[in-house]
Symmetry: C2
Subunit: 454 residues, 2 copies
């Protein structure tokens, strides 16, 4: 048999996460508070427990993964690295195409890689309850799962329109014991303000963040969790790339180009950073390595945004962070890859792009679904719409390899399965899916409202 | 770390399926045609290709798995055997609880174990197109996937009410390139008759079978596929139990009791038959082995049915088979475990029960969901409603072990994930799920309409 799936043993689950901060040429720009000064650990301590804060600010290269976390990871990790041999054949490409499949987790995506340690550190820090926000529910379901694994109650503020229209991930969160509220609620001041302004408010991710943060800030026993963007989330996701490196070692191969979908940046960071470490360390194999963050043309943060300080949320409640941004009040069109509808990006991913260590690429929606269907028909797995962005870019690269006769080794992060996204596939297959015009004017306008710094 | 997941290498994918017919004390009763005589291979050849027919009638103990099939299996097989340590702790049981997780396949269930070889054998036999029927879509999606893997077009007749109300698996089939029709259609005589009688007919599984069989019988280039009940389907599913045996060998353990959900019987057969082989061969470890087929109280084929010849479909178009049956026109209540709503059962499973080599148990719906939620909260994986039946029985056994202080080793077949069944969980969690009264009178009546034999 041609080996298709490269598995590792449970003992191959990484013992440490990789922190790319240790290898950056320039120290990351600090998050700034409302006073324009770097946010203190004490201020952040109102919503995050100590161990998470330490990781968020750490410059240590390797950070040990607690045994309790590895024990939970062991239920689905190491995740498989799979060679897309049938897709290669369908494309007629000389390229070797590999994907790291994160859809094997209980929540069906990569999100539990960070949800589990976040729940664990909160548990040991004595946190009594977790809060978070969620849009379609990828992150909310992952933290509901992780909280349940450590006996920690979880409250999720779910954007009301998703709560009503996409009930399945809500049911998933509730199955795992979480309380789920349709945001805006009357439980928080932010929610009450929104309801006073519009009793029929459909909610927004920015507003849900405000509600979750408000509840955490008001109660010392409650902490807030976030599923992407921040350094500690990117850190936790590096298990993906660290495992992939071991899997390539088993094959005696090394990737030439790595593709990851990029919304808040953590899944891209997860697969790319461990390989970038080699490149930054001067490893010859990684000398010409390219890492490509793939985003939607309708929310083109890395390719069309400004590299500037901006708020993490839409309402301007969070500290400001140096990152690529479309402006915190930019409202992306309602594309089906909900996980990529974010105005900003991970500060670490942003810095690496700014320093030209990685690349970014924007792809339009219909082309991503066409790639997803081609992938499903060749490889069997139906990918999440977010993952389809990386697949589109990888297929295009494989076709370029075909033109040029280059047998390159390509790797992409298949961040999740699309079993909750069949309505989107249905729209694509019935020809109802649309591309959005590049939101050039909206971006230009929202960028005029960036916060002033210094 | 406590080992939770017992993995095997790709080379451990079984090279042969196990055929329990070879070890039966009595030869299986043959299927009979309308003339009351055993159905000839020639008659069956109208809808099945040669290699499938051979397997259906074979008494050979081991049947080689083609490399092409193992190559496809290798994308997700060997599937993990997982120790439910957290569930054991939650129950406070001294029992060791293991589950074989089949939800890792591209379709999310065990069904591709048979869909892949069925598609393969049809491909090599020169079949030009496959037909099948499907209710909620578990089997239809699996054969759509498998057909796509071998470049074989697939037509699925999907019960109209499911087609309209459960669109997600329909979209899944279409993503894999299958044509899906809402049955009854005007494409077949059976469909046209049904539409003439009732233009708004919601369809039924029996009617969809009739349409799929009619299309296959009318065109020599078209063959029919079935996802359970028949011997060759049970045969293909034995990869589950064969792998589980290797996994228990690695642990130096052997199960005392095995539980499988049982509708048409193939997933129960898949996990149980390879262990039963040991028992029938006099293996000391299997001397006291119990294998328990778990079914819904609302469709209690094995526990309340008659062991008699009956039709495989509701309309009486198929040959009659010796099996436990509730009567071919028994209409089970609309429970959420759609895969267990079948009036009959695998003739092989039925014979083993009749000969007291296995046991059967019926459990009510609400109790199965309560077990599913307990499992999800302990183990993370949200199980399919069908799987919840086996979980209920395993949990009850684990609790008996606790009462008696018996550290027994229990194994159950976690046949699929519940990501397409969240609406059912939602009903359970919101207290809207009901148990159905034991359909005693309906069974009594339908059993009076069994076909006359001899």
């Amino acid at each position: 048999m041609t080996p298709l799936r490269i598995d590792l043993a449970p003992n191959d689950i990484p013992t440490h996460w990789y922190n790319v901060v240790a290898d950056l040429a320039n120290a990351p720009a600090p998050p700034l508070g409302p006073d324009g000064k770097p946010v203190t650990p004490e201020a952040m301590g109102a919503i995050f427990p100590g161990p998470i804060l330490e990781q968020e600010m750490s410059a240590q290269r390797w950070i040990a993964i607690p045994d309790e976390v590895r024990q939970i990871y062991a239920q689905w990790r190491p995740s498989p690295l799979i060679r897309a041999l049938r897709l290669e054949q369908a494309l007629g490409t000389p390229a070797k195409l590999f994907y790291k499949y994160e859809g094997v987790s209980p929540a069906g995506s990569h999100k539990p890689n960070s949800a589990v340690p976040q729940a664990y550190y909160n548990k040991v820090a004595g946190t009594q309850r977790l809060t978070t926000e969620t849009g379609a529910g990828q992150w909310g379901s992952s933290i509901a799962y992780a909280g349940q694994m450590f006996g920690l109650p979880v409250r999720v503020y779910m954007v009301k329109v998703s709560y009503q229209q996409k009930p399945f991930r809500r049911s998933m969160m509730q199955t795992w014991g979480a309380e789920v509220f349709a945001s805006p609620t009357d439980r928080t001041q932010a929610g009450r303000n929104a309801l006073a302004a519009d009793p029929d408010s459909p909610g927004s991710l920015g507003l849900a963040i405000s509600e979750a943060v408000e509840e955490a800030a008001a109660d010392p026993a409650v902490c807030y969790t976030l599923g992407s963007v921040l350094n500690h989330v990117a850190l936790h996701q590096t298990v993906i790339g660290l495992e992939a490196k071991k899997q390539f070692d088993k094959l005696g191969l090394y990737p030439d180009v790595i593709f990851g979908p990029c919304g808040g940046g953590s899944s891209f960071a997860g697969i790319a950073f461990p390989f970038l470490a080699d490149k930054m360390a001067g490893d010859k194999r990684a000398q010409h390595l390219r890492c490509v963050a793939v985003e939607p043309t309708s929310c083109p943060t890395l390719t069309q945004g400004a590299y500037a300080y901006d708020y993490g949320d839409a309402s301007g409640y969070t500290p400001i962070m140096k990152m690529y941004t479309l402006g915190h009040d930019f409202m992306p069109p309602g594309i089906h890859a909900g996980g990529l509808r974010y105005h900003g990006d991970s500060p670490l991913v942003s810095q690496l792009l700014h320093e030209r260590l990685i690349e970014a690429l924007a792809v339009p929606q219909v082309a991503t679904f066409s790639a997803g269907v081609a992938f499903a028909r060749a490889e069997g797995i139906i990918p999440a719409p977010e993952s389809c962005h990386a697949i589109r870019a990888a297929i295009d690269e494989a076709l370029r390899c075909k033109e040029r006769g280059e047998p390159r080794t390509l790797l992409f992060n298949l961040t999740g399965h699309g079993h909750f996204d069949m309505a989107s596939y249905d729209k694509y297959l019935s020809g109802q899916l649309e591309d959005y015009a590049y939101p050039v004017e909206a971006i230009r306008q929202s960028l005029t409202r960036l916060p002033k710094v210094g």
